[in-house]
């Protein structure tokens, strides 16, 4: 039997887009949290952390309410794009994005705050504006832990099950991601399919972990 690789490609696509979206949004929010003082700052931090501690099905449930065909956002989406958002690959991407965003915000905030502020101060005395301070001093100095967090977030997005199932469903050939496909294969007794997908996902996870560990500053590699 020819193995259907679609779930794997879908998962990769969803995880990639979600990681890119969550990285940009996460960096922006982390920058605000690390550099600005405003009311409700810690409340914002808590709200962003929530998806990290909620059971995925609970997050999925909230998203269904927030984005469903009856909701304001859902109706706006339908009005703009002509079709509902829920139970599509796009919904899976949104779900994955929200699922991994807290991880990125948390790590990026910690990484940005760990940069020695004298470098940023030096850059300012040398005439750099805040954007230049951020992209040519803070970000490069915080870069490795942030990249490590990006790699881990990608892995997490790749393996999401609960949130995706809730908002995107389990439609083979449309929204069935790799985690769902494996579950489906085991349920319906297609052991060979499950095995091959499991091996493929495990290998990918190993590679990602290796990359993340190499980037992570806590890893002490002996050099000479």
């Amino acid at each position: 039997m020819q193995l259907d690789w679609f779930p794997l490609w879908l998962s990769l696509r969803v995880a990639l887009v979600a990681t890119v979206l969550a990285t940009f949004a996460g960096l922006a929010i982390a920058y605000l949290l690390a550099n600005r003082e405003f009311r409700g700052k810690e409340a914002l931090d808590a709200a962003i952390t929530l998806p990290l501690v909620l059971p995925p099905t609970v997050l999925g449930y909230y998203l269904l309410i927030l984005l469903g065909r009856e909701s304001t956002l859902g109706r706006m989406y339908e009005w703009v794009f002509g079709s509902p958002l829920v139970f599509t690959a796009t919904a899976a991407t949104v779900a994955a994005t929200l699922h991994i965003a807290p991880l990125l915000v948390k790590s990026a905030r910690a990484a940005l705050e760990s940069v020695d502020h004298t470098y940023e101060r030096a850059a300012r005395t040398l005439g750099a504006d805040e954007w230049r301070v951020f992209h040519s001093v803070t970000l490069p100095l915080a870069g490795r832990p942030i990249l490590a967090a990006v790699a881990l977030a990608f892995a997490r997005a790749l393996g999401d099950f609960g949130v995706t199932l809730m908002v995107a469903g389990n439609i083979p050939g449309r929204t069935q991601t790799v985690a769902l496909a494996i579950y489906d294969a085991v349920e319906s007794g297609r052991g060979e399919t499950a095995r091959q997908l499991v091996i493929a996902v495990s290998l990918m996870a190993l590679v990602i972990l290796w990359v993340a560990n190499r980037l992570s500053p806590s890893t002490r590699r002996v050099t000479g």
Partner: protein
């Protein structure tokens, strides 16, 4: 011309006690040294000048430009002050080569000048062979030269240095002093420098501001400050003097003489203008000016008998510490001859006695 009036209260926090920075000074070109003990507010003053900290009250103007004015709500951000800052840890960007560090500072110069200016500075600060290295591949002295070059690259109107000699060995210190004197001569940029080393004040300082607990205690040339500390606080901070409680016994303006009582002894001194008979004052005199000799018979005029408690041998001199809190300095050969002698006399040169 630099004019600053700064007032800011810092509430106590878990890491630090309450602190009030409250000072006013005016200084011109050349090197102004901020001298004081740790916690005097020296670095904070630099940070306020650079624009990292905003005081509640005051006004700062440099070369005719107002950088800060609380009344008019002016507070220029650091990047608009054109103020070079050499940090204690040098703050060279660790992910850029030395040349790229300098290029970072060159970006506000016209495009065509950048390359030439960076090359000029690299050459002027003897960094040519090091330009391609990363900061972690440089020694402390090299990092410092690079850091000063970077700070001066965009021709700042004021150069700030935070304890530049900290952590440098004596030879590198001499290099640094030489370099800074060159900078003073060639760049015409006024320099403000933080130190708690008195010798550094003399090496470099045209003006010296003595700070303690957020206040300015005295301003003057280093020579003026050590010859005439303005208060007991300054004298204690400089830690250069014997400070002795005395009472003025006689004052004779016509013969320019006086007599003070120190313990059981009368000492002749010069006339002290503005003082009255019976005033209890503090006499200050540097240990180098006292002559210590082994006791031999009755003490002569202006000699005080003392007991040797401790001798501290230094490279060139020996510091003798006596009872009554007196210290004197003698040469190692004299000390060697009389090292077992406990009873000494210390002679006070009448014309060098000063009181606070």
């Amino acid at each position: 011309m630099i004019q600053a009036r700064i007032r800011q209260h810092y509430a106590p926090s878990p890491e630090s006690a309450a602190f009030t920075l409250d000072l006013q000074f005016e200084t011109a070109a050349g090197v102004t040294v901020l001298f004081g003990p740790s916690g005097a507010g020296k670095t904070l003053t630099l940070d306020v000048m650079a624009g990292f900290a905003q005081p509640a009250e005051g006004r700062i103007s440099v070369a005719g430009h107002v950088w800060f004015d609380a009344a008019q709500q002016i507070h220029l951000p650091p990047r608009d002050r054109h103020c070079g800052y050499v940090f204690q840890n040098y703050a060279l960007f660790p992910h850029r080569t030395l040349r790229q560090n300098l290029e970072f500072a060159a970006e506000r110069l016209p495009r065509l000048e950048r390359h030439r200016r960076v090359n000029d500075m690299i050459e002027a600060f003897r960094l040519t062979d090091l330009a391609g290295r990363m900061p972690h591949e440089l020694s402390g002295g090299q990092k410092q030269r690079a850091s000063i070059a970077r700070a001066l690259l965009a021709a700042p109107v004021l150069l700030l240095l935070d304890e530049p000699a900290q952590g440098l060995d004596p030879a590198l210190r001499q290099d640094l002093y030489f370099l800074l004197r060159q900078v003073r001569a060639e760049f015409a940029t006024p320099i403000m420098l933080v130190t708690h080393d008195l010798d550094e004040c003399f090496e470099l300082g045209d003006q010296m501001l003595v700070l303690d607990r957020g206040r300015l205690l005295q301003q003057g040339t280093p020579r003026q400050v050590i010859d005439q500390p303005s208060s007991l606080d300054v004298a204690e901070l400089l830690a250069l003097y014997n400070l002795l409680p005395v009472e003025i016994r006689t004052l004779d303006p016509s013969r320019k003489e006086s007599m003070v009582r120190f313990g059981d002894f009368d000492l002749h001194g010069p006339y002290f203008p503005g003082r009255l008979r019976g005033d209890r004052v503090t006499l200050y005199i540097r240990p180098e000016l006292l002559t210590a000799t082994p006791r031999d018979g009755k003490p002569a005029a202006n000699q005080v008998p003392v007991t040797l408690e401790r001798a501290v041998e230094r490279a060139r001199t020996v510091r003798l510490e006596f009872s009554e809190g007196l210290a004197a300095v003698c040469d190692p050969r004299t000390y060697e001859r009389h090292k077992h002698n406990k009873e000494w006399v210390v002679e006070f040169p009448a014309s060098y006695l000063r009181v606070l």
